[in-house]
Amino acid sequence: MLTLGLGSTGEVQLVGSLDAAQAGAAQSYLDGLHGAVTLDCSQLDYISSAGLGVLLKTHKRLLAGSGKLRLVAVNSHLRDIFKYSGFDQIFEIAAAQA
């Protein structure tokens, strides 16, 4: 299950698992966003290749409009996936906000 919503500082909070079953709903939500978008991943406990595809598509669309996708508070396992797959070369992955 995945829940997406706006946090108090305007970041998008991802709560749950971004897998193939949730990819469509996540894509629809993210398609409505523009500019520089920050994803708070502190409560994202799983992401599959389908979820990564959603992030890539969204990032590409935002870049075309001079925006970007920024990921914050990514847990160590997800950070490993981003690092070893090379996605860290595309996404800005920031440390968790205090």
Binding site: S49, L52, G53, K60, H77, S85, G86, Q89, I90
Partner: protein, 337 residues
């Protein structure tokens, strides 16, 4: 006198079609330098075929027509197939799309050299002949080698694919189409038109099926690699089935070798994840360079493979993904360095 239109008609269409194939491959499975290499290999095969056909004509006392009908298709398709079997066995082709592109490139290289030879030696041939050679014969050469490659890859995924003779059905089909084309049962122009009509449909189907298969493999493989990485990093490896399996190896291998086996599993998983990440990014239009750290991992993987030895590598096959596609992805990644 040779019309200035004839050399481009004889040589360019097949090369432009090949470029279009490379462009439409959304995962960019083939590097342009590899495609150029395949073109050159095809050209060399054309040279070898020229002498082999000549020798066989003398040996079998055949005239040019009989040679074209039967001997040339067998000689030429066997030699082009040999190039494709080499690419297949060395994991340089993994999916139907790159197989079709590299096959078409070998055939195109063959056709370009053959047509260049005819340009030099039959300057009196009229425009219709060159339309047939440039759009018909050249495309046929590309298409039959692409067909051979596709059938080789399809058969390799079946139980019969393990046989050393798995290439034979593809070769028979390639020789059959080539011989049929050379017979010109209908007029050469009609044969050319049919080739131009059928070829794009066939390749479109290959591209669609291949991209679906690749997408499925990429999705499940990426998730499996990520899960394996999570397990390796979790600190709970020894309680997992993988950890228990590695534990059983302690009785068969010395301690340092078991440590190298664990390192090998980890590096192999990291590199597999990197390769699939690269393909996922390409699918979405991102092209990123492969870094020095990945280069260092490849060197380390080679060292570990030597240290573990063939027996050790066989012992870890049950826990690693070592299908042909999995080995191909590492070759593909290595090629980017």
């Amino acid at each position: 006198m040779l019309s200035p239109l004839i050399p481009p008609i004889g040589l360019l269409p097949v090369l432009l079609f090949l470029l279009a194939l490379v462009y439409f491959d959304s995962y960019k499975l083939t590097k342009l330098s590899s495609v150029v290499g395949a073109l050159v290999a095809g050209g060399m095969v054309a040279g070898i075929s020229f002498f082999a056909n000549g020798a066989l004509m003398k040996l079998l006392h055949l005239d040019l027509h009989r040679d074209a009908y039967w001997v040339a298709p067998v000689v030429e398709e066997s030699l082009k197939a040999a190039v494709m079997v080499f690419l297949f066995r060395s994991h340089r082709i993994g999916f139907l799309v790159d197989g079709a592109i590299m096959g078409f490139a070998v055939g195109a290289g063959f056709a370009v050299v053959e047509n260049f030879y005819y340009l030099l030696n039959t300057p009196g041939a009229n425009m219709a002949v060159w339309v047939v050679r440039g759009f018909g014969t050249a495309f046929m050469h590309g298409a039959v080698t692409a067909t051979f490659a596709v059938l080789l890859l399809v058969i390799s995924e079946t139980r019969e694919g393990q046989s050393p003779l798995a290439f034979l059905p593809g070769l028979l089909v390639a020789v059959g189409i080539h011989a049929l084309f050379n017979h010109f049962f209908v007029s050469p122009i009609v044969t050319t038109a049919v080739t131009l009509l059928v070829l794009p449909i066939m390749l479109y189907e290959v591209f669609i099926r291949s991209e679906k298969r690749l997408g499925r493999w990429l999705g499940t493989g990426f998730d499996a690699d990520a899960e394996m990485l999570g397990l390796l990093n979790s600190g709970g490896l020894s309680n997992s089935p993988l950890g228990q399996y590695l534990h059983t190896l302690q009785g068969r291998f010395k301690g340092p070798i078991v440590a190298d086996i664990l390192c090998y599993v980890r590096l192999h998983t990291e590199l597999a994840l990197r390769a699939k990440g690269l393909l996922l990014m390409r699918e979405n239009g991102f092209e990123v360079a492969v870094d020095d750290a990945t280069r260092a991992k490849f060197l380390e993987l080679q060292y570990l493979a030597k240290s573990i030895g063939a027996t050790g590598l066989m012992a870890i096959q049950p826990v690693l993904h070592t299908s042909r596609k999995d080995l191909w992805q590492l070759y593909m990644l290595d090629e980017q360095l």
